[in-house]
Symmetry: C2
Subunit: 349 residues, 2 copies
């Protein structure tokens, strides 16, 4: 089959690779219907994290079950399934605590899983899914083509935006700032509105993303960054800052923006992958009672909750995809996102 | 009148100072009945923070109102009052949000307040209390001498322990680790039990404090620190760590202990004054979804809630005082706490 391989920064290729096979009784093989490129895929693409040797890449996909092992009971051949961006058994202590990204048996796509060896990355034609009963979520009934983008966001970005909002404790009537206008930031706007926030301030300089932010529920746009951005947020929030701030980037600058935009006693919910840092300034947090909560989002646990709203059209996270390409053009997909010509690219095998 | 002055590290003196007077219409003058030495007073005492010139010290006291300005309506001459360790108006946006330590008009004892100039420190005979209606809480009815220690803890340590537990989100059935066996850590044990924690692990090497920890509700004691301490906590908590960890020290080592003792998805509530650092390791927090929440405790807002339990004897935080000295022996009070001969010293003017 064909799958995407990163060889070096800016060197993405679609190559012939070995077909996946059932390796354990708990595996499924999923034929990928749609995959996508994640903002975090851009770290190795840009060379910010090292690529020591060519390896498979990708971790977001939906598809149809082609085969299952004898120990799989929750998923059947022919089911349309959503895969979260990681593998989990959904039964261990951490999964039961709602933190399936810390599953005691879990693992990651595109690497050597703890259970059964290598698991494919998703930006390819087929994937071996370890712990299929725990990992996959079945989408009942017929799935129309129009639904694919929305369903695919439940693999990562919509659940990750939701995690930012939950981690920050967004509730009814809150004022919320969203730092980051990528796909996760845009989904965080959806999540904040869905949880009852009444003022949602999107920090964005990009006209198309601003428009989508407003469509998703942003009530205000702040274009400035740094001190000027913080001054604008404070002006909108009675001089004290926002109740909740969702940090969806992962840089030192974005976290600083988030911390200083939060009112005393407020909370930053963060899901931006912190790329090598930053360390958090505890004294600044302490003096103002600003908390920081979040991390790698346990989206598996959110799929069932969010799925009805996606299918009903109550929320439309699928709109974050502004470019669709065939799998063979994965290199162009990465380039378009890297150059911010696209917010998020959907790949069809 | 007499009051405590710090001249330099290890140089605490009780000196004649000017009597306080009403400076604004919203002031009260309080005759101090009892004051105490705080763990954070030991930072300048030990020279960890600099003392550039002699200055008044102290910020925890209870007493009786001697005089009030014409704009004071909630407090009357003769009332027994508890003062939190800071000044606040209890009406501004931050106070209404429960973060009175960030009061827009507030200030600190022993320095130049925003309202009316210098405010005395509390380790003295009398104090000018700015914003008396917002700052002071009246204890109704006659107050017996036996009640003084318990009431005095509401000025800081009991409310601060409570803030650690609230910030960490302690709830019914939780497992909780308390890092720090000083007065705040011991009060955090009381708070965790009061909020429904069923497993409370106190990290302490000090036999008398261990005994008090058990009396307050600790179910387990861990004496080890570092990796060994974390291994012990994990062994007690099913291998994953505690739901909630209360950091009541404020050093790099204690925060590291706290972060690594927390289970994935858990929360550290911290109230230890971070002394010059540490910066928080965000990548470690991110990977395990461990949040950090807390800060300088808004104890003013907790006094009314905790007062009935203190007066009824349902909780006995006054037991943290293991030495009572006359004001004139303030130097010995500091030495006893510095040398860990006393957990917390009560001073009687």
């Amino acid at each position: 089959m064909r799958a995407t391989v990163i060889h070096a920064p800016h060197d993405i290729r679609v190559e012939e690779v070995r077909d996946p096979t059932l390796s354990t009784g708990a595996d499924a093989i999923v034929r990928v219907v749609a995959a996508c490129v994640c903002g975090s895929d851009l770290w190795p693409y840009r060379g910010v994290t090292a690529t020591h040797e060519p390896h498979r890449i990708g971790h977001e996909f939906v598809g149809v079950v082609d085969a299952i092992g004898p120990d799989v009971h929750q998923v059947a051949v022919g089911d349309f399934v959503i895969a979260p961006f990681y593998v989990c058994d959904n039964t261990c202590a951490n999964c039961r605590n709602g933190v399936s990204t810390s599953c005691l048996k879990g693992g990651w796509w595109g690497g050597d899983d703890k259970v059964g060896g290598f698991a494919d990355g998703g930006q390819g034609e087929r994937v071996r899914v370890p712990l299929a009963d725990g990992t996959l979520v079945v989408v009942p009934g017929p799935v129309s083509d129009d639904e694919i983008p929305g369903l695919l966001t439940l693999s990562d970005v919509m659940g990750t935006g939701h995690h930012a909002a939950l981690s920050a404790g967004v509730g009814v009537g809150d004022s919320v700032v969203v730092v980051g206008d990528g796909a996760v930031g845009l989904c965080a706007i959806i999540a904040a509105k869905r949880l009852g926030a009444t003022m949602i301030i999107a920090m964005s300089r990009h006209p198309q993303r601003q428009a989508l932010a407003r469509e998703f529920g942003a009530t205000h746009i702040v274009e400035e960054r740094g001190d000027a951005g913080i001054a604008s947020v404070r002006e909108l929030t009675g001089g004290i800052g926002a109740d909740r701030v969702l940090e969806c980037v992962g840089t030192k600058e974005s976290m600083d923006q988030a911390l200083r935009s939060t009112r005393p006693g407020g909370m930053v919910g963060y899901v931006g992958v912190p790329n090598g840092g930053p360390e958090l300034p505890i004294r600044q947090m302490f003096n103002r009672n600003v908390g920081v909560n979040g991390g790698v989002a346990p989206v598996r646990g959110y799929i069932e909750e969010l799925l009805p709203d996606v299918r009903s059209g109550a929320i439309k996270p699928g709109l974050v995809f502004d470019l669709v390409l065939p799998l063979g053009e994965a290199a162009e997909a990465y380039a378009a996102m890297d150059e911010r010509r696209a917010t998020k690219v959907l790949l069809r095998p």
